[in-house]
Amino acid sequence: MNAAGRALGLYRGQTQADARARVPDLITAPADPAAEVAALTQLALWSERFSPAVAMETGPPGLEGLALDMTGAAHLFGGEAALIQTLEARLAKAGIPARAALADTLGAAWALARFGQGQRLAPEGGARLALADLPTEALRLAPEAVVLLRRFGLNAIGDLYALPRAGLARRFAAGKLAAGGLGLRVVERLDQALGFRSEPLVPVRAPPAYRAFQVFAEPVGDMAGLAHCLDGLVQALVDQLARDGRGARRLVLTGFRVDGGTTQIEAGLSAPLAQSAHFLRLLKNKGLEHLDLGFGIDALMLAAPVAEAIVLVQVGLEDKAAIADQGALAGLIDRLQARLGEGAVRMAKASGRWLPEHSQDWGPPVLGRAPEAFASEDRPRPILLFHPPEPVEAMAELPDAAPVRFIWRRVARRVVRAEGPERLGPEWWRQTADNHRPAPRTRDYYRIEDEAGHRYWLFREGLYEREDMGRLPNWWLHGVFA
C-alpha cells in the first residue's frame, strides 16, 4: 500500500471489496512473496556496505525489515545519528521508503523503527526509557497477546515494567492461550527488547573474515575508474591476509550501486594464496565487465569469505622446482576456471566401482597428490570411452561368442581378432525396486580388432535366454584402444 492509499483512508487487513467500495478506481496487484523476498535480499546485500552482518526479516507482511549489526562501526559514518540520516537519505534517493532506527538491542531498534514517532535513536542504556511510551505491538507479539494486553488495560510497553514478572509469565505462558501454539511470549520479547535476554542475528550470508572496502566520493560508472582503484583494494586485502598468514580460497568483488542494488563477481582459488598480482589477474580474467554498474556504484568491497592458513613448505628438504611447479599449477587452474567456469578443469580419481563409466570420478583437481592406481590397471582398457555407449549392430556366430561383423556409425567392420568375454555383472546392491525401469543386465566385454587394425571395446548387454526378459541382448561400443 502506498502513501496515496493511506491518505485515502485505506488500511492493511481491509478486504479488497471494502477498499474498492471506498475508492472505485483503486489499482490492486496480487501479492508476490517470492519477488518480495528477492528484492529484500538484494537490499540486504546492498546494506553490507554499512555492516558485514545483515539479517533479513521477511515477515509478517508489512513489517519486513533489515537488521544491521553496527557494533563499533557507527563512527565510520559520522556517528549514530548521522548514520541513520545517511541510511535513510540513500534509500530515499534510490526510491525506497524506509525508516531506520538504532538501539542497544534488536528488539528495541525494531520497535523504534516501526513505532517510534520522533525518536529513532536510543542512546546506550536508554532503551527502557525510549520504549516506555510505545504501544505493546512494538514488542513483536502475536496479535492474540496484544488483544489480551489491551483487555487488561496495558497499552504501552511502559505499563509492563511495573508488573510482577512471575504473574506476567504465568498468564502469558507460551502456548497456553495461543490458538496455533504460537505462544504469547510477552516476557521473553520484553527481555529481548531490554537486553536481558540475548537474541542472535542470523546474517543473510556469513560475514567475510577478510574484506577491503573503498568508498567513492562520486558514483563510478565506468570500468576504467573501477580498474584503477582495484589495485589498492586488492593490496589492502592481501595485507590483511598476509598479517594472519592466511590465503584466500574465494574472492568476491561486490559493487554497491546508487540505486540500492549490488553487483558482484566471484572467483575461486585452488590453493590458499595471498598475492596481489594473482588476485588482480584472476578478477580481470573473470571479467570486470560482468559487473553491472547501472547508474554507477559508490562503494566497492573485495572480500575473502573463505580463507585458509597458508602452509609454508620447507624448501631445503624438498625439491625446489617441484614446489615452484605446484604454485604455477595452482595459478593455472585458477585462471582456467575463472574464464571457463568452475567445472571445466578436472582430474580423475578411482571411484572404486567396476562398471567402466562409473569407475572414474572426474572432480576438481587436487594438487600435490600422487596419481592413483586404477584397479584394472593390469587388464587392457581403452584410452577413450564413449558415455553413453554407442549402439552397434553386431553379428556373432554363436550367441555367447564375440561378433564377426559389426556396424558402428554406419560403417561395417569385419572382426579379425577378438578377446573375451570379460564379464561385468550389474551392481545389484545399487538397484532399487522400480518396476518402470528395466533392470540392468550383465555385460560381456570383448576386445576387438578389425581388419584395418583398429581396436574397439564392445560389449553385449544381457545373456541369451537367461536375461532376455522380453528383450534381446544389445551390442554397444564403449571405447577405442590406442
Binding site: 617441484a322 611447479d325 605446484q326 604455477a328 599449477l329 595459478g331 593455472l332 587452474i333 585462471r335 582456467l336 574464464r339 571457463l340 567445472g343 571445466a344 578443469v345 578436472r346 582430474m347 580423475a348 580419481k349 578411482a350 567402466p356 569407475s359 572414474q360 572426474w362 583437481p365 596419481p371 592406481a373 586404477f374 584397479a375 584394472s376 590397471e377 587392457p380 582398457r381 581403452p382 584410452i383 577413450l384 570411452l385 564413449f386 558415455h387 560403417v411 561395417a412 567392420r413 569385419r414 579379425v416 581378432r417 577378438a418 578377446e419 576386445r447 576387438i448 580388432e449 578389425d450 581388419e451 584395418a452 587394425g453 583398429h454 581396436r455 571405447g479 577405442v480 584402444f481 590406442a482
Partner: protein, 237 residues
C-alpha cells in the same frame, strides 16, 4: 619412459621430444585412439620422468563425438592428466596457450580441428616459454600452414602376436609417419606398445629381444626416396 633409449640401440631413434609444438594427426577418425596414445608419448617426460602433470584441452563437441579420456586406460599409457573442457575451439586455443606458458605442465595436448598459422605460432612460443611439450591433435585432413616443428600422421596397424592366444589382439601397433620436419628427413616408424616398459618401442626392438635380427624400423631408406608418407588405406567396407 625409455623408448628413446631402446630405439637408439637400433641406430634410428624417434626424434626426441622437445618443448616445441608438434602436430599429431590421425589418418582416419578410427585411428584417433592410436594417435592419442602416440601423442601421450610425445608430451610425457622424455628419458627422465617429469613430475608435472599433462593437460588435455578439448572442446565439448570433440569429447562428445570422439569419446572422453578413460582414466584406467589413460593411466596405462601416460601419467597424471588434467582435463580441460571448453565451450569452443577459440577457448580451447586460449586454454592451451595458457597451460603451456604457465610452466606448470610437462606437456599439453589440444584437440583442435584447424588452428591457423598465427595460432600455431603462438602455441610454439608458449611451449618454449613454459618448457612444455605441445601437441595439436587433429583428425583426417592435415593441410594448412602450421609452425609445428614436426607433423606426424598416425595409423593403427594390426596388433602384434598375443603371448597366449593367437586369436586375441596382442600389443597395440601403430605406424607413425613424420611427414614434415624442420631438422631432418621425413620417415616413418612402426611402433609397438610394450606393456612392461610402459612405452612405445620400435617393433624391431622386441624382435631383437627374442634373438632375431630384423632391421626395423624400415623408414630411413624409404624416406630418402620420398616415400615417407603413411600409405592411406581404403576405408573398411
Amino acid at each position: 619412459m625409455s623408448e628413446t633409449h631402446a630405439l637408439s640401440a637400433l641406430k634410428c631413434p624417434l626424434p626426441a621430444s622437445e618443448p616445441v609444438l608438434e602436430e599429431v594427426a590421425a589418418c582416419h577418425p578410427q585411428d584417433l585412439g592410436a594417435a592419442l596414445g602416440f601423442a601421450l608419448m610425445r608430451v610425457g617426460g622424455d628419458g627422465q620422468p617429469d613430475p608435472r602433470p599433462c593437460v588435455l584441452v578439448a572442446p565439448k563437441v570433440w569429447l562428445r563425438e570422439r569419446g572422453r579420456p578413460f582414466a584406467p586406460g589413460w593411466s596405462q599409457k601416460g601419467g597424471t592428466l588434467i582435463l580441460v573442457e571448453t565451450m569452443d575451439e577459440h577457448q580451447a586455443l586460449w586454454a592451451l596457450e595458457e597451460a603451456l606458458k604457465s610452466g606448470a605442465v610437462s606437456g599439453a595436448i589440444g584437440a583442435l580441428a584447424a588452428p591457423d598459422f598465427v595460432a600455431t605460432r603462438r602455441l610454439d612460443f608458449a611451449a618454449r616459454a613454459g618448457r612444455a611439450r605441445a601437441v595439436v591433435l587433429r583428425v583426417g585432413q592435415t593441410g594448412g600452414l602450421s609452425t609445428a616443428r614436426r607433423r606426424w600422421q598416425i595409423a593403427a596397424l594390426a596388433s602384434g602376436a598375443h603371448a597366449l592366444d593367437a586369436r586375441a589382439p596382442g600389443p597395440e601397433r601403430l605406424r607413425a609417419s613424420l611427414i614434415r620436419r624442420r631438422d631432418g628427413a621425413p620417415g616413418f616408424w612402426e611402433l609397438e606398445w610394450d606393456n612392461e616398459r610402459r612405452a612405445w618401442l620400435g617393433s624391431g626392438a622386441r624382435a631383437k629381444d627374442h634373438g632375431q635380427t630384423h632391421s626395423l624400423p624400415v623408414a630411413a631408406r624409404l624416406a630418402n626416396h620420398g616415400l615417407a608418407t603413411g600409405k592411406p588405406r581404403p576405408a573398411a567396407a
